[in-house]
């Protein structure tokens, strides 16, 4: 068959008798994980990539809008950096933001060379669209399936390099292994297909397990976004950072929480209250609908709270002002979302939307090469907090974050793997995990609450108390509920006690991760007594740079999260008042 090399042989799971060993092990196969794995493999080390769902099912495929880079001749990385820093409400670390924005153009070109079908302008060159909080149109996109298109292309590369990268598809990680020197040396993972538990050995482990949106209900996030990596890192003593910073996206469908991409506003759609007023005129007269997300979400919530919304607690997004041809070409996905999930033809009538949980700015604290506090443990993507997003992430900066820091983590992890001998993880961690599962299985039906009930109470509590507007009493109340739910989880029972595809059991384990995430968010939100980015405290409505221009770090202790602080890195951009 011509000059085309045939695909390498099918991946076969490693036999149980052996300890699966890789130089670099990546947990999570979204954009961050896949990019990390490919980057590590390029360094010539052996790589394994684990994902609890098939890699192309990862949540990165939901990213509709696009990816930012200052690649146009008239644009500059400094301008992109400034927008990101301002968007972050000055909580982003400027050294990391510089790296991300400087390396962005090259990354986009790399993706294009691999085969991503980016939108072209009339000359056949890469074309852009406008996005919120940006001073230039610098968002590159593939219709409104950007995340999917990039992820599928990376997965193509994983198939191409299947000899260098072993794929563990539908394997669920439960705990990290730390050696006697305090270095990460492996991870315990369950093969979902047959329930076997494996202790993987690795010289470096990269956590790229995505965000924790499922802690809130409703959310734009998929059911798998349960904060697993954040909790796994926290449980072995890694620091978490900025956990109070949870983004509410301005345009989600009420009820189900489905997202209408910011691309819609980028293409010119208007936000209207029930009186038909374009209310952003009041809140952000210059940028209007394209102000930063925290700003737009608060504006909408204010309209709704003050009675100018619709009876279903929403405002309207009017896409009919965008030319129809353009809608079909660039916003097809939301035409389908409108049609299939809201029964609305968005080309003909406005659609009701409201702010909804969307993104985890905080996460596992890392440096610019993905290194956490624990040697050998790395993190990238939504799980990590470098921090490039600070108090508020700009649209289309997250995909960029996953790729840039995914790649950097992969490269650094590979160089560590080349440098060190590596230690063998103790069987103890595997035994502990087996015992944990046996204990869940031993709970009799009716011994406590159903796992699903606890999840529901957690989600609605967090959405009510730790959302767009927060205050001390509300957060405190949420924290107490979370702690009660933690107790109740100890006796919560499941129906399925089998080995094959036991999703019930995985759900119970995920609930544990979610509760750790929730507790940390409540603690950090209580601690930050100011309003910055996504954290808006009605009892402290002003930003207070004097006291709070710093990160809140959390570390696990027997009595819950312990608070410490770290400096925000400022390289050149001094904090200013933030107007749009």
């Amino acid at each position: 068959m011509g000059g085309i090399p045939t695909a390498a042989s099918d991946f076969s799971p490693i036999a149980s008798a052996l300890v699966p060993t890789h130089d670099v092990l990546v947990i999570g196969a979204g954009l961050a994980g896949q990019r990390a794995a490919l980057a590590a493999a390029e360094q010539g080390v052996s790589v394994g990539i684990i994902s609890k769902v098939h890699p192309v099912r990862s949540h990165s495929n939901a990213a509709q809008g696009g990816i930012n880079a200052a690649l146009n001749p008239g644009d500059s990385w400094e301008s992109h950096a400034y927008d990101t820093i301002k968007g972050s409400d000055y909580l982003g670390d400027q050294d990391a933001i510089e790296i991300m924005t400087r390396e962005a153009p090259e990354e986009i070109l790399h993706l294009e060379h691999l085969g991503v079908t980016f939108h072209r302008n009339a000359e056949g060159k890469l074309g852009t669209r406008a996005f919120g909080g940006a001073s230039a149109a610098r968002t590159y996109y593939v219709a409104d399936i950007t995340g999917q298109a990039i992820m599928h292309v990376l997965y193509e590369q994983l198939m191409k390099y299947s000899e260098q990268v072993a794929r563990y598809e539908e394997w669920f990680s439960t705990a990290l292994a730390i050696d006697e020197n305090g270095e990460c040396c492996g991870v315990v993972t369950r093969n979902v297909a047959d329930g076997s538990m494996e202790l993987f050995k690795a010289k470096a482990v990269i956590l790229a397990t995505g965000g924790n949106g499922q802690v809130w209900k409703p959310t734009t996030n998929a059911l798998i976004c349960t904060g697993d990596g954040i909790a796994m890192a926290y449980r072995v003593g890694a620091k978490l950072m900025d956990m109070e910073m949870i983004q509410y996206h301005p345009t989600t469908l009420a009820g189900k929480g489905f997202l209408i991409t910011e691309g819609a506003r980028g293409e010119g759609a208007h936000l209207l209250n029930a009186k038909g007023e374009r209310f952003m005129e009041t809140y952000a007269p210059n940028k209007m609908e394209l102000a930063s997300r925290d700003v737009v979400s608060r504006a909408e919530q204010t309209e709704i709270n003050e009675g100018r919304g619709f009876p279903d607690g929403t405002v309207a997004l009017d896409i009919t002002v965008v030319p129809k041809k353009r809608v079909h070409e660039a916003l097809r996905e939301i035409v389908l979302v409108g049609r299939d999930f809201a029964g609305v033809d968005i080309t003909r009538e406005p659609i009701h939307i409201k702010p909804g949980n969307h993104y985890t700015m905080g996460g596992v604290k890392t440096d610019v090469d993905g290194r956490t506090d624990i040697p050998g443990l790395y993190s990238a993507g939504e799980t990590a907090c470098v921090s490039v997003h600070g108090g508020n992430r700009l649209g289309a900066n997250s995909l960029l974050d996953t790729l840039i820091f995914g790649r950097r983590s992969g490269v650094d992890a590979a160089s560590r793997a080349k440098r060190i001998e590596g230690s063998t993880p103790s069987k103890k961690v595997l035994e502990d995990e087996d015992a944990m599962i046996a204990e869940i299985n031993s709970r009799a039906k009716g011994s406590g609450r159903r796992v699903s009930e606890i999840k529901l109470e957690l989600g609605t509590t967090m959405d009510a108390k730790v959302a767009v507007f927060r205050d001390e009493a509300g957060i405190q109340e949420a924290l107490e509920i979370v702690r009660r739910l933690k107790e109740e989880t100890k006796t919560a029972y499941i129906d399925d006690h089998g080995s094959v595809f036991n999703q019930d059991l995985l759900g119970a384990i995920e609930l544990g991760y979610m509760l750790d995430n929730a507790e940390c968010t409540c603690i950090a939100a209580l601690e930050r007594k100011e309003s910055r980015g996504a954290q808006y405290r009605t009892d402290f409505p002003e930003r207070n740079d004097e006291e709070w221009l710093k990160h809140i770090d959390l570390e696990q202790t027997d009595d819950g999260p312990e608070i410490s602080y770290s400096e925000v890195t400022i390289t050149g951009w001094k904090p200013e008042a933030r107007t749009y």
Binding site: A7, R57, A62, G115, F118, A122, Q148, F341, V500
Partner: protein, 389 residues
């Protein structure tokens, strides 16, 4: 809120028992999805009910399943609509609507692992890997981006929209007959590279896919994958594009399948049923009735198939001699022909939708497809249009 009954085909591999049916009562808004119904059952009643799912929004491709016999996504099928369909189906066989339940099964053409979870690795992903699913450019990449026609990127964005859910594979009739068939999803993926101007191995890819006996000519143009696909990828259209590209490459269609299918579609539109005499003629010599002359090859093929036609009459497949004479075959009575036309109109409107990425909106002219339109006039355009995507 409304009450529904779902009837799920279950299989618990560790029970030692075979597959069985189980009914569950659910209570939810009609606009919520079949997946929501399953998740409610899992949450409230039986956590052991296995179903892959994640996004709930027809993006991740996890929840392929059969609903009332139709392959699709659980999260994209509204429970209210599924119930209506179930009632209609029940009505059609004379049953009472009250007894209608929403029937949910695992996808077809794939081994079942547990309940609604199927083994996609051996049936779907292995096929995807078969088509060398990565870009094969020549030489070092340019300093900046590759400069390509904007339309070419939009064109392959249609197959790029595939979420690898497997619904098309589940529904594919050829796959049922020939499990070795590369299949709709993998061939759509193949077009994604063949149509990509950056790929340098187009020719090799086309030869590979054409020469494989389970390749592009193994598709019977049955539309099942088009109906099943939740993302309007229209895999069949991508396969037809591959065939056309193969034709342009000078690769011979071993069974004239491409022309045969166009003819099939056109005749049914005109006559309502299959007029076998016309089929032969249209397939091999679509010029006899019209202005164009049949090609030498077509005449040869037609002569070659006379024995087949005679065999057809003998075995009763073509019931009478007059049927072989064009024009004798009668149209359907009692306005049934109009129903057929209506189906075509529907298909045409569907077709509009498949091509949203390329066309953008309703009033964009379809691309002309040379000979066919000229021969049969307006009516043929519908058939031809499905090719010209």
């Amino acid at each position: 809120m409304a009450d529904y009954t779902i009837k799920v085909r279950r299989f618990q591999p560790e029970s030692g028992e075979g597959p069985y049916w189980e009914q569950f009562k659910v209570e939810l808004e009609p606009s919520l999805s079949v997946l929501d119904a399953l998740l409610q059952t899992k949450d409230r009643e039986d956590g052991s009910l296995a179903v892959r799912c994640s996004c709930r929004a027809a993006i991740c491709g996890s929840c392929g399943m059969k609903i009332n016999g139709q392959s699709g996504l659980g999260c994209k099928t509204q429970i209210g609509e599924a119930q209506e369909l179930a009632e209609k189906k029940m009505g059609a066989v004379g049953g009472s609507a009250e007894r209608a339940v929403v029937v949910i099964e695992p996808m077809g053409n794939m081994p079942v692992i547990k309940d609604l979870v199927t083994d996609m690795e051996s049936t779907h992903w292995a096929k995807i890997r078969r088509v060398t699913p990565w870009l094969l450019p020549h030489g070092a990449p340019p300093e900046r981006e590759y400069i390509v026609e904007p339309e070419s990127m939009l064109d392959i964005t249609q197959p790029m929209a595939c979420i690898q859910c497997g619904a098309c594979v589940s529904s594919c009739l050829s796959m049922e007959a020939d499990p070795g068939f590369i299949g709709p999803a993998a061939l759509a993926k193949a077009y994604r590279f063949v149509g990509d101007p950056r790929d340098a191995e187009t020719k090799e890819r086309l030869h590979d896919l054409a020469e494989d006996p389970h390749g592009i000519y193994d598709c019977t143009h049955c539309f099942a994958c088009v109906d099943a696909c939740p993302k309007d990828v229209a895999p069949m259209d991508q396969i037809m594009r591959l065939r056309r590209r193969a034709g342009e490459e000078g690769i011979e269609d071993p069974n004239s399948g491409h022309d045969h299918e166009i003819a099939f579609v056109k005749i049914i539109e005109k006559k309502g049923t299959l007029d076998e005499s016309l089929l032969l003629q249209e397939s091999f010599a679509p010029g006899i009735k019209g202005k164009l002359k049949p090609s030498k090859r077509a005449i040869k093929e037609m002569l070659g198939s006379i024995p087949t036609a005679i065999r057809g009459i003998k075995t009763g497949k073509m019931r009478s001699l007059p049927k072989l004479i064009p024009g004798i075959h009668h149209k359907l009575p009692d306005g049934a022909q109009d129903d057929v036309k209506a189906i075509y109109k529907h298909a045409e409107e569907h077709n509009e939708e498949f091509n949203l990425y390329i066309k953008g909106e309703e009033d964009v002219e379809p691309e002309p497809d040379e000979p066919t339109d000229a021969i049969l006039g307006d009516e043929a355009a519908a058939a031809a249009e499905s090719e010209s995507a």
